[in-house]
C-alpha cells in the first residue's frame, strides 16, 4: 500500500482529465454536424477551461481567488452565449428547417 500511502493529489491529476474533456470537445466539434451537438462540444471545452482556472488557482496561489472569479464570470458568459447561440440556431432552423452545419454556409465569401 505504499502507493496509497504516498498518494498525493497533484495538479496534473486534474489537468489531464480536463485536457481529455477538452479534446473530447474538440473531437465533437470537428465531427458532429448537428449544431446543437457542436454547441454541446463547445460547452465541454469551455468547461474544461473553467476547470483549469480553478485548478491553477487552487494549486499555485490558494491565497487568492482570481481563478475562481474568472470561472465564475466565464460561467455567466457561457450561459449568455448559449442563450444567444440557441436563439440563432432556432432561427436558422426556422429558415432552413435543418440545423446541419453543412447546409448553413450562406455566410461565406
Amino acid at each position: 500500500m505504499d502507493f496509497l500511502n504516498n498518494f498525493q493529489l497533484n495538479s496534473l491529476m486534474f489537468l489531464i482529465p480536463s485536457l481529455f474533456m477538452f479534446c473530447c470537445g474538440v473531437y465533437g466539434f470537428l465531427t458532429r454536424r448537428n449544431m446543437i451537438a457542436m454547441l454541446i462540444s463547445l460547452e465541454l471545452m469551455l468547461n474544461a477551461v473553467d476547470m483549469n482556472f480553478v485548478v491553477f488557482n487552487r494549486f499555485l496561489c490558494p491565497a487568492q481567488m482570481d481563478g475562481m472569479f474568472f470561472t465564475l464570470f466565464a460561467i455567466a458568459i457561457a450561459a449568455a452565449e448559449t442563450a444567444v447561440a440557441i436563439a440563432i440556431i432556432i432561427n436558422a432552423y426556422r429558415i432552413a428547417k435543418d440545423i446541419d452545419v453543412k447546409d448553413l454556409t450562406k455566410m461565406k465569401f
Partner: protein
Amino acid sequence: MEATLPLLILVLPLLMFLFLGLFGKFMSHKWAGIIGTAGMGVTMILAYYTAYLYFFSGNFVEDGTRVQYIVFNQDWLSLWGNLVIKLGFLLDPISALMLVVITTISFMVHLYSNGYMRDHHGVWETGFQRFYAFLSLFSFSMLGLVVATNIFQMYIFWELVGASSYLLIGFYYTKPSAVSASKKAFIVTRFADLGFLIGILILSFTTGTFDFMSLTSTPLAGVENTYIVDAATATTALETGAGQMFLGGSLMTWALVLIFMGGMGKSAMMPLHIWLPDAMEGPTPVSALIHAATMVVAGVYLVARLFPLFMINDDLGGAALDIVTVVGALTAFYAAVVACTQLDIKRVLAFSTISQIAFMMVSLGVSRPEVHDNLGYMASMFHLFTHAMFKALLFLGAGALIHAVGSNDYTAMHGLRKRMPITHITFLVGCLAIAGIIPFSGFFSKDEILTACFGNSIIAYVWMSMVAGLTAFYMFRLYYLIFWWKEHKVHEGHHAPKDQPWTMTLPLVILAIVATFAGFVPFGDLVTWNGHPHHGGINWMIASISLCVALLAIGLATIMYRKENPLPERMRHLFPNLWTWARNRFYFDELYMFITHKIIFNSICKPIAWFDRHVIDGTMDAFASVTNKASYAIRGLQSGNVQSYVWVYLIGAIVLGGGTVAVIFLFF
C-alpha cells in the same frame, strides 16, 4: 535726374494695357484707339525729353565721356548672395537711342492702326481694343527690356516681349495659320531663351552678379558710374570665369555663346529664324513694330549691351565674337537669297529684316578696339536706328498696299504707282534707304558697317558687300513688281486700290522723312561703345564701292523686273535647284517639322506616354490585380463551414503550441 519721368515712360504703357485690357470692351472702338494713341504719344514725348536730356543737357558727360546713369533700381527678387534681380532704369547711349526708336515706331503704329484696323467701309476689326491693349503691353515690355539695369531684368522683359509678340501674331485667332505661327514664334524663341537662361546662370555663377555695371567693372569697387574697364584690368570674377574650362571652352565663352543663342532666337538668326517669316500672319502694323523695328533687334541690343564682356572674352582668346560674326554673315546671305524668290510681299520684307539684322550682328562681331576704335559697335547701333525707321516705313507701306488690295501676294498688285502715289513715293524712299543710296539713311549706316568689316577682314567685307548688293536687288525687284508692270483690271463691284486715310499715310510720310534724313544724325557723337565721341567721317573709298554695287544691283533689277519680260524665267532655269531651294527657304521649316514632329513628338513624347500608361501604370495595376487574383484564389478558405475554420485553427494551434514547447524543451 528725377525718377518720375523715366518711371512714367514705363508705367504709362502698362497702365494703358491694363486700362484697355480690362475696360476696353466697355468703350467704343474709336475711343479705345484715341486713348491708346494718345497714351503712346505722351510716352513718346517723355522718351524724347529723356533722350534729349541725356544726350544734350551735358549733365551726363564726365571728362568727355558719356556716363551710364541708373535712374532708379529697385530690388525685385533676392536670390543668392549678391544675386538680386532688380527692376531699374539704366540710361546710357544705347538705351536712350532705343527709347527714341521704340516710342517713335510704336506711336506711328498706334496711329496707323486706327486706319488699318478698319475695312473699307469703316467697320472696325473685332478685338480692336484688345489690339491696342496688346500694343501697349508690347511697348511696355520692350521699353523695360532696353532700360534694364541687369541681365535678369532683361530676361524678364525679354520673355514679356515674347509673350506680347505671341498675342499679337495670333491676333486673328480664328485663323489656324495665325495660331500656328504664333505658337511657332513663341516656342522657337523660347528654345533660344533656354540658352539665354543657362547663359545667364553661368555668367552669374562666374561673376556673382547680374548687374550690367558690375559685370563690366570691378564688383568690389562698386562704382556705379565707371563705364567700362579695359580688358587688361578685367575683374577677378571675370577672370575666374574665363579661366575655368568647361567642355572645351572657357565658362565665359560658354556663357556668352549661350546668351547669344537667346539673341539669335529673338533676332531670327539662322538656324532659329524660322518663326519670323511665319510671324507675318499678324496684322501688318504689328509686323512693322515688332518684327521689323524693335523686338527683333533685341538680340542685337543684347550683344551690344554685353559688348564689353564679348570684348574681354575676345581678348582672352574666346571665340564668342567670332561666332556672332559667322552666324550673322551666314544669316545675312541666306536671308538675302531667299528674299529674292519669295512671292508674299511681307515675307520678302521679313527676310530682308533678317538679313539687315544679321548686318548689325556682323557689325558687332567684327568690332574690335583696334579697328577704328570699335567702329562696328557704333555702326551697328546706327544701322539699328536707321533700319528701324526705313523698315517700319516699308512695312507700313506694305500694310497700306495689302489693305488696299486685300492680298499679300504681289502678283495681285502690279502697277499701283498711279493709284497710290503717296504710298509709292514713301515705299520708294524706303527701298532707296535700304539699298544704301546716298543720301538716304541706309547709305550712311551700311557704309560704316562695311568699313568696320573691311577693317576686320577682307573676306567679311566682300561677303557683306555682296549681301548689300543682293539687298538692293531684291528690294527693287519687289518695288518694280508692285508699282510697275501692267495694272490689273478692277473687277466690277471691287474698289480700285487707292491711297489710304490720313491716319495711315501720315506715319508713312513722317517715317519717309526720317528715313531720308536720319543718316545725317551725328551718331558718332552720341552713341559709341565707351561713351567717348567717335570722330571719323565717311570712308569714301568703301562708300563709293558699295554705292556702285547697289546701283549695279538696282540696274539689274530694273532690267529684269521693270516690265514683264522673260528674263526672270530664264534666270530661274539657269539655276533651277538653287531657285527651288531658295523658294522653299532651303527647307528649314521641313527640317524643323521633321525634328519636332517625327523625332520629339513621335519618338519621345508618344513612347513616354505609352510607357507611362502601360509600363508604370501597368505595374501599379498589376499589383492591384495580383492582390485581387490572390484574394479570389484564397477565398475558398472562407467556406462558411465552421468546422473547416476550426480545423485550420486547430492545426495552427497544434503547430504553434507544439513548436513553442519543442523549442523551449530543446533549447532551454
